[in-house]
């Protein structure tokens, strides 16, 4: 276990290093921040002075070494736009994205498990065919199209749901949450549904195929032969074993979901990390870009680690390599 943790920490550092280098290598290509922080009629000389003050005229490697030095102390640089440390901005915006991802994940779990199991147990039934057909149509519609259609239908035409933003939020110890107000929940509906629309069909199909495979296995046949209660077989024996691959895939997909928040948040003007990222690109707020990438990288490493540990717990036959 110790070796496993050490291994992950080393991996995290390597990942962070790679990400920060890539981020740094390209940050000059997303634009010049000085143009973003000055009015258009400001003279060239003045602009040059600002550039000099910000250290943007230093060679890239010097800037990078400078950045690494500061990063070692937890300082990821300052966001030009927010005039705050980039890490603070990220932490400020993270709750919005995490809440969105959390609700979407809940929707995915709550819907995909029963639907997937049903489609596995009764593969020939009409409803199963509807589920499977619907899921393949679902994967084929781009998430931004679903989001646009959602806004058009439910906000503009019907006026039932708000079209943008998080609505009323409550600040609980620095965590700005939309969970505590009815308005916040109303604002969550469309974004979380469209975000979950990417992964829901995949999970239904995954659970179905894994479950069908398990149902074919010898020990389930044996359980039937023993005359066990069918629900016991399905849910206790079969489903438990379909969980394993679902957890693994779930971990990987979480990363993709976080990336897809870029699209969803852009359409819904959801003030989270994805939106922040696109804005940072458009504003060439480079410190924020690098900080965002490092944050997401960090989350991915943590999630992967947790998934591996859960995997080991759920399935004792798998030894986490290096576990003593």
């Amino acid at each position: 276990m110790a070796a496993f943790i050490i291994r992950r920490i080393v991996q995290a550092f390597v990942v962070m290093f790679i990400i920060s280098s890539i981020g740094f290598a390209v940050k000059h290509n997303v634009g010049d921040p000085v143009w973003q922080i000055t009015g258009i009629s400001v003279s060239k000389a003045e602009r040059e002075r600002i550039r000099e003050d910000l250290g943007l005229n230093d060679p890239v490697y010097i800037q990078y070494i400078d950045f690494l030095k500061k990063a070692a102390h937890g300082d990821l640089g300052k966001s030009y736009f927010y005039k705050k440390p980039a890490a603070d901005v990220i932490l400020d915006k993270a709750p919005a994205t995490l809440e969105l991802v959390l609700v979407s994940s809940l929707i995915i779990v709550v819907l995909s498990v029963p639907l997937g199991i049903y489609a596995a147990i009764y593969p020939k039934r009409l409803f199963s065919r509807v589920i499977m057909g619907g899921s393949i149509v679902g994967v084929s519609i781009p998430v931004f199209l679903i989001a646009i259609m959602g806004v058009y239908l439910f906000s503009v035409q019907l006026g039932w749901l708000p079209s943008f933003g998080r609505g009323e939020t409550v600040n609980v110890g620095g965590w700005r949450t939309g969970f505590l107000t009815a308005d916040g929940w109303r604002h969550l509906i469309l974004p979380s549904l469209s975000l979950s629309s990417i992964m829901l069909p995949l999970f239904i199909r995954l659970i179905r195929s894994e479950m069908m495979e398990v149902l074919e296995s010898d020990y389930i046949r044996y359980a039937w032969a023993k005359g066990l209660n069918r629900y016991r077989i399905w849910f206790l024996h079969a489903f438990k074993n379909t969980l394993l691959p679902v957890i693994t895939v779930g971990g990987v997909q979480l990363g993709i979901t976080i990336a897809f928040t870029i699209l969803t948040e852009t359409v819904f003007q959801w003030q989270g990390l994805g939106f922040l990222f696109m804005e940072a690109v458009e504003r060439s707020d480079t410190a924020l870009l690098v900080a965002y990438l490092m944050f997401v990288g960090m989350i991915m490493v943590v999630v992967n680690t947790v998934v591996d540990i859960i995997y080991g717990v759920v399935n004792p036959t798998v030894r986490i390599t290096g576990a003593a």
């Binding site: 390597v14 390209v26 994967v139 084929s140 971990g251 990336a259 897809f260």
Partner: protein, 306 residues
């Protein structure tokens, strides 16, 4: 050639195909769209790349069956005055070209890396798989945004229109090779243990030949199934990138950039600029996905999960 066809007709795959209506229909739709796309200059009413055919004064004409529609423009025109049907057909061609080539690129990169990693194992394997892990955790969107920044700086913005297609192919190809690498590696690891590989080594074949001529053909089913899924994904990826404004230039729109351009008109009543390309994109992707589903059911490969 005849021989191959005969054999194909006798194969399980064809037998299952004949009995699967959904597969037949989706295959027919895909072939139809494919043929349309590549005979675009022949069947499209106009050439949307020819400025002589574009008149700003005839922009946003609705489809022919709506009030104000014109017979010349069956599905109406877009915001620039291009015939929407022609633009969609040409756009689909770009989407399909990008989708297929990007998958080809992914496949080449992924297969080479997967084969090498799986066959040689050890440090090389560890390196490539960590690389794949890191890259997968960032998804193609972020990778694409960064790759596009680098490439644009490298080629200069002025010539972007000329290199947009290869550029997107590279972006999507580079972003998604890990799927192939992991699937191929998993298959190679399974195949490598089989004795026919040892038999080949005993015969004295070099690693190169064993990897490509002996192991790779046995990894084809997962590659085939994955490829269909990836073509659908690549078309969607291109659409998503174009939606974020990182894709095809406005003068040579793909389906994705058409949808993106039309998005701004969705409340204005010119819904057709988004709706028709959107519908076409969904049909195209759906057909490919259904084919992939069929292949998966028939070939029943073990895909790398995730």
């Amino acid at each position: 050639m005849m021989d191959h066809w005969q054999r194909f007709k006798a194969s399980d795959l064809f037998y299952d195909f004949k009995r699967d209506k959904v597969a037949i229909v989706s295959f027919a739709v895909f072939v139809l769209l494919f043929v349309c796309a590549f005979s675009a200059p022949l069947i499209a009413p106009y050439n949307p790349y020819d400025p002589a055919n574009i008149d700003i004064m005839s922009s946003e004409i609705p489809p022919v069956w709506m009030a104000g529609g014109m017979d010349d423009y069956i599905l109406g025109t877009d915001a620039q005055g291009r015939d929407l049907l022609s633009t969609m057909i040409y756009g689909m061609r770009i989407s399909i070209v990008i989708g297929l080539c990007a998958v080809l690129l992914q496949a080449v990169i992924g297969i080479v890396i997967g084969l090498i990693a799986g066959y040689y194992g050890g440090k090389l394997d560890g390196f490539f798989m960590r690389l794949a892990d890191v890259q997968l955790s960032f998804s193609y969107l972020m990778v694409a945004i960064f790759v596009s920044a680098v490439l644009q700086a490298a080629v200069g913005v002025g010539r972007f229109a000329e290199i947009a297609v290869p550029f997107l192919i590279i972006v999507i190809g580079l972003a998604q090779w890990p799927q192939y690498a992991r699937t191929v590696r998993a298959s190679v690891l399974a195949e490598k243990k089989k004795e026919y590989v040892e038999a080949a080594r005993v015969t004295g074949f070099n690693s190169h030949r064993i990897m490509w001529r002996h192991i790779l053909p046995n990894c084809m089913s997962p590659i085939l199934v994955l490829s269909t899924i990836q073509v659908a994904n690549a078309v969607m990826s291109e659409a998503a990138l174009s939606f974020l404004g990182l894709g095809m230039p406005v003068t040579r729109p793909s389906l994705g950039s058409l949808i993106n351009a039309g998005f701004e008109y969705i409340f204005s009543g010119s819904w057709w600029i988004t709706a028709f390309p959107g519908l076409l994109l969904v049909i195209l992707v759906l057909a490919v996905n259904l084919l992939g589903d069929f292949l998966r059911d028939v070939l029943n490969p073990k895909l790398y999960k995730g």
